[in-house]
C-alpha cells in the first residue's frame, strides 16, 4: 500500500523584518542585557524571551528606556506548548512607531507571573482572560474574577488538553 509522502521536515517561515525591526534586533541585546534575553526574529517582529520572574522589570525597562519607549500594550496572550505555557506580550511605541514581542515560559503546573498592570492599565482584562482560559495567575493583579467564563466553569478551555468537543446536545 502506498503511503502518502510525508514531509520529514516542517518548513519554517522566513523572517522578513523591516528597518525598524532590524534596528530593534541590534538594540535589544544591549538594553536588556541584564535579563539575558533570547532574541529571535519571527516573521515580522523581534521576539525576546525572558524568565518569568523578570517580566515586571523587563517591561519597566521597555517602557521607560527612551530608545524603546513601549508605552502601548498591544496584546497579551498565552500559548500552550504542552511542556510549558508561553505568555506573549506584544508591545508598541506610539512615539517611535516600532513593535516588539516579549515572551516568558511558565510551567503548566504552577503558572505564575508578576502582573504588568502597574505599568499598563490596559493589561487588566487581558490577564483576567488568560487566567480564565489557561489558568495563569498574575501576582499583583487587583481583581482576578472570571471574565469570560461563567462562575463554576471547570477546566481551562484554552489549553490543548481541553478536548475540542464534538457536537453534543447541551
Amino acid at each position: 500500500m502506498a503511503e502518502r509522502h510525508r514531509r520529514e521536515e516542517v518548513p519554517q517561515a522566513s523572517s522578513a523584518l523591516d528597518d525598524k525591526g532590524r534596528a530593534l534586533e541590534l538594540l535589544l541585546p544591549g538594553v536588556l542585557a541584564e535579563f539575558e534575553p533570547e532574541i529571535v526574529s519571527t516573521v515580522n517582529l523581534v521576539a525576546a524571551t525572558v524568565k518569568p520572574h523578570d517580566i515586571s522589570a523587563v517591561c519597566r525597562v521597555a517602557k521607560e528606556d527612551p530608545k524603546l519607549s513601549f508605552d502601548y500594550l498591544m496584546c497579551l496572550c498565552v500559548v500552550d506548548y504542552v511542556e510549558h505555557l508561553q505568555v506573549v506580550y506584544h508591545l508598541y511605541s506610539t512615539t517611535l512607531n516600532h513593535m516588539m514581542v516579549l515572551k516568558a515560559n511558565v510551567s503548566p503546573d504552577e503558572p505564575s507571573l508578576p502582573s504588568v498592570t502597574p505599568l499598563w492599565v490596559g493589561a487588566d482584562w487581558y490577564e483576567r482572560e488568560s487566567h480564565d482560559l489557561f489558568g495563569v495567575s498574575f501576582e499583583g493583579h487587583p481583581n482576578m474574577a472570571p471574565l469570560l467564563l461563567y462562575e463554576g466553569f471547570e477546566g481551562y478551555p484554552g489549553r490543548r488538553d481541553f478536548e475540542m468537543p464534538e457536537y453534543r446536545e447541551w
Partner: protein, 173 residues
C-alpha cells in the same frame, strides 16, 4: 373565521341571527387571536449578529411596523421574544429570567441558526445548542443571518400559528 349572517338569501341559522340580523358573530378566541397577532410587540433582545439584521427589519426599508410589530424594551409588556444570536451558557439564566417575566400569552421566535441549534458554534464549549433547551420555541427562522424577508416570513408564520391555535381551541396557556 366563521360568519353567521342571517340576511340575504341565507336562512338565519341561529336564534341570535333571527333576533338581530346583520350582526356578524365569531368565536371570542378567534377575535382575540386576531387582535393579538396584529399587534405583536417583541422585546428588544438582540444577542449577536442576527440582531443587526433584526434592526434592519425594523427600519424603514423592510418595515415591521406595518404588521403592527413595535419593538418594546421591557419584558413585562411584550408578547414575543426574538432570540437573535448565539445563546451562551453564561446567558442562559438571564434568558430564562426574562422569559418568565413576560406575561402570558407569549411566544418565542428563534432567529438564526445559533438560536436554532448552535449554528456555526456547534463545537464550542460554552454555547447552548439552541435556545429550545431553555425556553419553548414557536417559530424557527433559519439563516446565518436570516435575511429580513426571512424574519418577516417568521413573523407571518407566527401570526398563522396564533390563528390556528385559536381555531383549534388550543389556547396557549
Amino acid at each position: 373565521m366563521e360568519l353567521n349572517m342571517g340576511t340575504g338569501n341565507m336562512e338565519p341559522r341561529s336564534m341570535l341571527n333571527q333576533a338581530a340580523p346583520g350582526v356578524i358573530t365569531a368565536r371570542s378566541e378567534q377575535l382575540i387571536a386576531m387582535a393579538r397577532k396584529s399587534s405583536l410587540w417583541p422585546m428588544t433582545f438582540g444577542l449577536a449578529c442576527c440582531a443587526i439584521e433584526m434592526i434592519s427589519t425594523y427600519m424603514a426599508h423592510h418595515d415591521l411596523d406595518r404588521f403592527g410589530i413595535v419593538t418594546w424594551p421591557s419584558p413585562r409588556q411584550s408578547d414575543v421574544m426574538i432570540v437573535a444570536g448565539t445563546v451562551v451558557k453564561k446567558m442562559a439564566e438571564p434568558i430564562k429570567i426574562l422569559y418568565e417575566q413576560m406575561p402570558e400569552p407569549k411566544w418565542v421566535i428563534a432567529m438564526g441558526s445559533c438560536a436554532t441549534n448552535g449554528g456555526p458554534y456547534y463545537r464550542s464549549y460554552s454555547v447552548v445548542m439552541g435556545v429550545d433547551h431553555i425556553i419553548p420555541v414557536d417559530v424557527y427562522v433559519p439563516g446565518c443571518p436570516p435575511r429580513p424577508e426571512a424574519l418577516i416570513d417568521g413573523f407571518l408564520k407566527l401570526q398563522e400559528k396564533i390563528m390556528q391555535d385559536a381555531r383549534e381551541r388550543g389556547r396557549k396557556t
